[in-house]
Amino acid sequence: MLFNLCVGERAKFPGHVAHFFHVAFCPMSQYCCNNAFRSFSLNHCQIYADEEIARGKLDLISSTNMVDFAIDIYKTIQQTEEAPADLVEKRESTVARLKVLHNSAEPVLNLFQNEEVIKQLRQDKQHNLQYLQQHHQFQPEMLDTLYEYAKFQFDCGNYTGAADYLYHFNLLSTDTERTFSALWGKLACEILLHNWETALEEMTRLKEIIDSRTFATPLLQLQQRTWLIHWSLFIFFHHPRGRDGIVDLFFQTPYLNAIQTTCPHMLRYLATAVITNKRRRPMLKDLVRIIQQESYTYRDPITQLLECLYVNYDFDAAQLVLRECEKVVNNDFFLCSLLDDFIESARMLIFETYCRIHEVISIGLLAEKLNMTADDAERWIVNLIRNAKMDAKIDSQLSHVVMGAPTKNIHQDIIEKTNILSFRAQLLSSALDKLPSDSQKVQDPADL
């Protein structure tokens, strides 16, 4: 599923964006194949045939410089020991090019090895450039070499090196276009290296630039945002505080619009994040609205669950959908780790909604709705009551849950409000007393 998503997205945005884009994306998908699919879709659920995946991997990798890896895959597909001629050839040329690039980039690399140089560098790019030019025979062209080298390293799968070089490049370069690409590259490297903390920082930086920069067309900006949304999934579902982050980012108006116009499939992740995140529960209402708006273009069990609960109030359907959700979450690369959390939260949601509209509920029926056994359900409810999360009692003879009746009293309400009023009037009059005498001329407004 994700595989399709990645490849599909890649096809959707041909050649526009900066260099690093495709380049970065290929290893990323490869990474997906490697880590995600090997571990589960392939062995677990058998969604895709082994060979199909391997072929897809090969397609992706053949455009990068990870030739050795490609050869390995080729061998597994073809069941041979012989490497194809073109790949061998490519390997040689790649190695040769690596040498050339390495030689030309060496002076710059050495420069940054030097402790003294690092100390002298400051925030100001111009100053840095001047300093390097004066003291270390630095040429502006060397920067471009550095960039090329970083990209090549990236293609070869050496992400640590690439991240390092790109960092240095960004310290010096004044070329906005390339700096921008370099930032994307850096983000890709950090993601691939699983440095979620740094990746989050990079992403925030990138987001600021995308939001503040003026693009040639609004469409381009939209594309950049779409990319950022997709990439951010890697970070948000691995970073410890990611589930707050994803809700905060996706609910910003420009990003929400981007999701609605270009990638409504992101609603699944947003919905999951909101469901599993108690602190962001107030967003649920907005989310339901958006899901409804986009329901004709995108719909999956997770969004359906919310629709059943908050639009149709159809609890039987919700229970059916919940079972499907289980499958979907289990098969989703990003969400699989959240499975238990998700099921628990979803149950909680159903239960909460159910309790709000019911006074007496039979436990047996409730258990059915929550996809649990009756005993489990009872235990679950008891726990809820004990943790003071719920105002209810269990009638064990009839096996009913009796909800505490809402005690809203109109008289109380009015008294409360008028009490505050008198207090406020008091405050006001005392404030008037404190004023200097000349304002006494003004008619006393607190004359209630």
Partner: protein, 827 residues
Amino acid sequence: MYEAQLATYRASPEANAPVKPSKEAKESESSSDSSSDSDSDTPKKPTAKTAKPAPGKAAAGKKAAASSSDSSSDSDSEDEAPKKPATKPAAATATAKAAAADSDESSDWDSSESSSSEDEGGTPQYTREYFLKKVGEPEKPLKKVKRVRAVAPKPDENAAAEAAEPKVEVKAEKVFFPKDAEITHAMMVAKLQEIVAARGKKGTDKNDMIDTLKKLAEISETAKLGVAMRLKIFLHLVAAEFDAASTTPPMSTELWNSCFANVGELLRIVRETPTLIVGDHVTEENENLSDTSKPLAVRGSVLGTVERLDDEFTRTLQSADPHTVEYISHLRDENRLVSLLVAAQEMVERIGVVVDICRLYLRRIEHVYIKLDYREFAEKGLLSSPALASAVSSPTGTDERATALMARLCKYIYHNDKTARIRSRAMLCHIYHHALHDRWFEARDLMLMSHLQETVTHADIETHILFNRTMVQLGLCAFRAGLIVDAHHCLQDLVSSGRAKELLAQGPTQQKYPGAERNVEQEKIERRRQLPFHMHINVELLECVYLTSAMLLEIPNMAAHPYNHKRLMISKHFRKYWDFVDRQIFHGPPENTRDHVIAAARALAACNWNQAQTLIRSIKIWSLFPTADKVKDMLSLKIQEEGLRTYLFTYSGIYDSISLDTLAQLFDLPQATVHRIVSKMIMSDELHASLNQPTNTIVVHRSDLSKLHHLALLFTDKSTTFIEKNEFLFEQRSGVQGFREQQQRAASAYSNQRRGPGQRPAAAGKEGGQQRLQRQFVGGAGAAQTQRPRRFGQPRNYHNNNNNSNNSNVNNTATQADAQQLAVSSS
């Protein structure tokens, strides 16, 4: 009767096309007054006579002396018109032959070429004035023809012959060329210049000019002067024909027909000689009419004539009385016009100038977007009478589906158009078309993404009108899809303004003050803007849809707020009629559509959903929807549901518990639906009750507010407002900054202290509920106002002026919002 006829036309311009006599006959049977209709293709004398006097009179007024010759020329053209179709193929072969012969004879004509070019340089360029009307026609630098004139020996024979021969009459009284003289290009161009020079001058008879030019064309045909010359003459001829119509705006049918044939001829010439270059970018000097060694080039804009023809077509329809046979017979010409546009489109696409393509695409779009493609409905099996689909052919003029065509043309314009106008018009047409075909989501998204609602205020009036039409169509589409709230939103502004006809350009502007003088000029401009009748959106249907959706929203709303329903009004327009009927002592049976809706609303308010259903279903105007039965079913269901809601609002106070089964029986709804509706009401705090699952009943918690409660709450609200204002005043006068925040903080601290920490509600879920409850009590109108626009997607609102409804107490609401905040923070 007439409406129906027009509706069928709207659906299928081609179905009534005069091509097949059998269909014609059927047509005449079906309509009693269209007996003369059957021979619409052949020029008919009676109608011609009625149409004729207009230009004749005008000419007579101007120049009495020429009246006799005028009438003669009139009859001339009348005679010619019927001949035209018959002679046309012959003429076509003749030109083809001429083209073939041209290459042989070119060596001869070359000699005279030099002299002709001299003439061209010297004469004033009268033709420009007409063709340069379209400003902003870009030059095509690449296609400019470089001409190197071959200097040929100049035999004097021709000139000598010319001088020697006396002038002899050619056919008519007019003398064009000396008899037996070998007519050359140079002579022809000179003659043409001479004739055209008279154009626009006083005393020039325009009909005369048309005749002259026609004869000239014949002569050039016999003299085999080539396609380029023919094209040039025809360009002038068409221009002259348009001129003839310019004094008396609606073109006569004959004139239009001949004009149509001529423009068709122009397009044919251009198509058959692909090397020919024609356009405004060709200068007089660069014209090449005869030299076949180089690409031929003619000055003038074929596209311009096509557009003008289209304009004339609309203008004729505008001025015609829509309730006559002439109107419909003229409307049938649209088919031919569309096929002409298709031909022009091919030409423009071949030449490939982006601006021209965009212009022409828009023309085509404007012919397609109002028409319903019945085939698409038939495929989905939505049509109430499937026979209709087979009887009706495509509105596109080709086999292509209207939707595909619209998408193709519009996308090209979106990508390539540089002027905002064409793009926004294309977009509006596209939305309209989507809405017409019940593709609500596509239409909505396109509307929201285009941001047209914000930008349309800067556009010209025609675009405004189109925008209004689109909005209405969107509303109707939402209604058909059962999205009552959206339908209400879309139509509210237009219908409640009371000027729907004017805003849709379907009727005259209403005078603001009855005594005010009318501005004649302005009225004329306005009349030009009016849409032809076949494009009208039925205003009665519009109002019916609006009132019905307002009824479905307003009746439960009124039931929910029995004491302060005046303040929480959803539709003022609906309330106006409601109140009017309410005041009457005796209620007669409903007569018109509006009566029906209001009567249904009264039945619904009394929870008599059966009667409401019958009344709504008996409205005849629904039949204008292609899927009328579906709409009726949808409405019946909605009435049942809203009836249930109204019932619960009105009578929940007197129940202790209600069984869901009873409700389901009472309103003839499945129990699941009842459960859903009740749950929704409980969740949104509209109904203070909860469900008892084991017994399957609704347990009502407490009766609704009594009058006293309500007044007490109102009083609390007002005193809160009062103290708020005092604080505000104090802050202003004393200059103590931040006093109010301080006050609020102190107040909230005070209330917390009073209540104590132990009293906080235990369940997390309930806390939210209580807040909301409080909000409802305190906020009143304020809360409802802030929540309303959300229903349609907060970031992408349709209208900003929804808020106007409560303009009078803006101040009140503002302070109330503060109070509400305070209350929330205090809880």
